[in-house]
């Protein structure tokens, strides 16, 4: 199997794309650490993976909490060894309904950056050192088309994803020589709870299935045509 012998850590793993990625990574042979705040939903995801013969472990942490990062990194490595694939999928929209910048509380803006930008930086910083030393590893930032388009009311989320895209390029510039691959992946619009929170009037039937998008993402991770540091649209990617 494609990910046999690899260890993976996925944040935001209790539902949506994170759940689909965790399930498919485990099916492809990876030892998966699934991370999310919601304990019960997360336990159900891990139980499902194990029933199907995969290896997964549930760690309940809030990626936006600075105090959570070292415990999370330590517990994850205790369970599956040094992490080979790190998927930063967890993210926060901030308060919904989404609102104009002029109506946004500074504290809410700040909280979104903690979860969507600083949390991924902190966790990559802790896990990336081992990747650099081992000359092996891949870090994925799940981004959004809001990172390149200025949609009104998407303020903090949009800014956090734009910064995340650039963080991708910087990590790749610093770690590329050490065979650590860092990508931004835009999953496109999916039928998830987050999408419904942001755009409650959207018709779910017009949106992609997160399972299908997760399959695309696992495929593109090993595509040598994609340059280190790139921003990739998962739904339009096609295997060579």
């Amino acid at each position: 199997m494609k990910f046999t012998g690899q260890s993976a850590l996925v944040t935001g793993a209790s539902r949506g794309l994170g759940r689909a990625l965790s399930e498919q990574l485990a099916r492809a042979g990876a030892r998966v650490v699934a991370v999310a705040r919601a304990r019960e939903e997360l336990d159900a995801v891990v139980a499902g993976i194990r029933e199907r013969g995969g290896e997964a472990h549930a760690l309940s942490y809030d990626i936006g909490d600075k105090q959570a990062i070292y415990p999370l990194a330590g517990a994850a490595a205790a369970l599956v060894g040094p992490i080979d694939l790190l998927v930063h999928n967890a993210s926060s929209l901030g308060p919904t309904p989404l609102r104009l910048l002029l109506d946004t509380e500074c504290e809410d803006f700040s909280a979104v950056l903690e979860t969507n930008l600083l949390g991924p930086f902190r966790l990559s910083r802790v896990l990336g050192g081992s990747m650099a030393l081992r000359k092996r590893g891949c870090i994925v930032h799940i981004t959004s088309d809001a990172s390149v388009n200025a949609y009104p009311t998407w303020g903090a989320y949009s800014v956090s994803k734009a910064a995340l895209d650039h963080l991708t390029r910087l990590w790749a510039a610093e770690l590329g020589e050490r065979d650590v691959r860092v990508l931004s992946v835009d999953p496109g619009e999916m039928a998830t709870r987050m999408h419904a929170d942001a755009l409650p009037d959207a018709d779910p039937n017009t949106l992609a299935d997160p399972q299908a998008v997760a399959g695309q993402i696992l495929g593109l991770l090993s595509d040598p045509r994609i340059q280190n540091g790139a921003r990739v649209e998962a739904q339009t990617w096609r295997a060579a």
Binding site: Y70, A75, A77
Partner: protein
């Protein structure tokens, strides 16, 4: 800190009292046993003393939160893990981290079969007591897997040192490249190594390799217990490190260990198997002036007073008289010692002909 061995014979080094923030500015005392010389440098200059084909071996063990409190006057410090997942621990009585271990109160006796609770989620059963030392017990946690580690990281704290100004947080005791949490105290030789330095070493043709060594605890507060340290320690040498060691040997490079735990792993493997072969093993090897290292040529390490087991290990790499002169100089020159202190490199030929 390191267990004292005998009476003092050299000026004492002052301890580093805090985790320091001076990026790349910590001091490096370079000791060259070949020339019988030593010289003052900064840690950022380390790449100058290594050369193409050399191999720098790091211990990539992360540090566990190995200090657990069961009662207001009962602390347990984890110090070794058994194959079956149980842990050996040593108990401490009244007093907090500001009190040196030797000044802590005598802990109450623990019974085999007794259940200790460290938090709402985490407890442990005492499954064995050491025959000689009532403070040494083997315990089995009430949880396993992800639940165990999540609860252990919530309830445990890093083992503390009384000489520091502030208590240590978990991030204070991790090296930047650490991964699997199997060390009970920080493998501190790697702490001053920034990625700036590590990547510069690579640019100069030095290879980096890693072993994972479950560094144990340094001090129990009891002379009779300390005399049994270090305990046998588990180490893992990957196939990549094993291959790099062989390649370095055949290319005429030198092997430099970042820390005594790396020396123990590599020399322990050689003592057991003849070569530093890949695999997971336990070593009880003790190095001293009577030992000739067979695979490690040089040592990057911290500074510790002459009456410590750490100093005794350094004597495997340089004559005692030279080390004592270097240490006396370091004390006069204001070097600081212990886990967050300055560094030294003991390497034959480091200072040239």
């Amino acid at each position: 800190m390191n267990a004292p061995l005998s009476s003092d014979v050299s000026p004492r080094l002052a301890p580093a009292r805090s985790r320091r923030s001076g990026f790349q500015t910590e001091r490096l005392l370079v000791i060259d046993p070949q020339g019988g010389r030593f010289a003052d440098h900064r840690i950022a200059e380390l790449p100058r003393f290594l050369r193409r084909q050399d191999l720098l071996v790091l211990n990539d063990a992360a540090t566990l939160p190995a200090s657990l409190w069961a009662e207001p006057a009962l602390e347990l410090r984890l110090m070794a893990e058994e194959d079956d997942g149980s842990f050996w621990a040593v108990s401490f009585g009244a007093g907090d981290w500001r009190l040196p271990t030797e000044a802590r109160g005598t802990p109450r006796a623990l019974r085999s079969g007794e259940f200790l609770r460290f938090s709402a989620a985490l407890g442990a059963t005492i499954v064995e007591r050491d025959t000689r030392e009532p403070r040494w017990v083997r315990l089995r946690f009430s949880l396993t897997g992800a639940s165990l580690y999540q609860a252990l990281y919530a309830a445990g704290k890093p083992i503390q040192y009384a000489y520091l100004e502030r208590p240590l947080a978990l991030w204070d005791v991790q090296n930047g490249y650490a991964a699997r949490p199997v060390a009970f105290e920080l493998p501190s030789a790697g702490r001053p190594l920034t990625f700036t330095t590590l990547f510069e070493l690579e640019r100069r043709g030095v290879t980096l390799a890693r072993v994972t060594h479950a560094a144990g605890i340094s001090s129990t507060g009891s002379a009779s217990l300390d005399a049994r340290l270090p305990l046998p320690e588990r180490y893992d040498i990957g196939s990549d490190a094993s291959a790099e060691l062989a390649r370095t040997r055949s290319a005429g490079g030198r092997v430099i260990a970042a820390g005594t735990s790396v020396v123990r792993a590599l020399e322990g493997a050689v003592a057991a198997h003849g070569v530093p072969q890949a695999g997971t093993n336990v070593t009880d090897l003790l190095l001293s002036a009577r030992t000739r290292p067979r695979v490690v040529d040089g040592l990057l390490t911290g500074l510790h007073d002459a009456d410590t087991t750490h100093f005794a290990l350094m004597e495997a790499f340089a004559p005692r008289a030279l080390l004592l002169r270097a240490l006396a100089h370091a004390a006069r020159a204001g070097y600081v010692q212990h886990e967050f202190g300055d560094s030294c490199l003991v390497l034959a030929g480091a200072l040239g002909p």
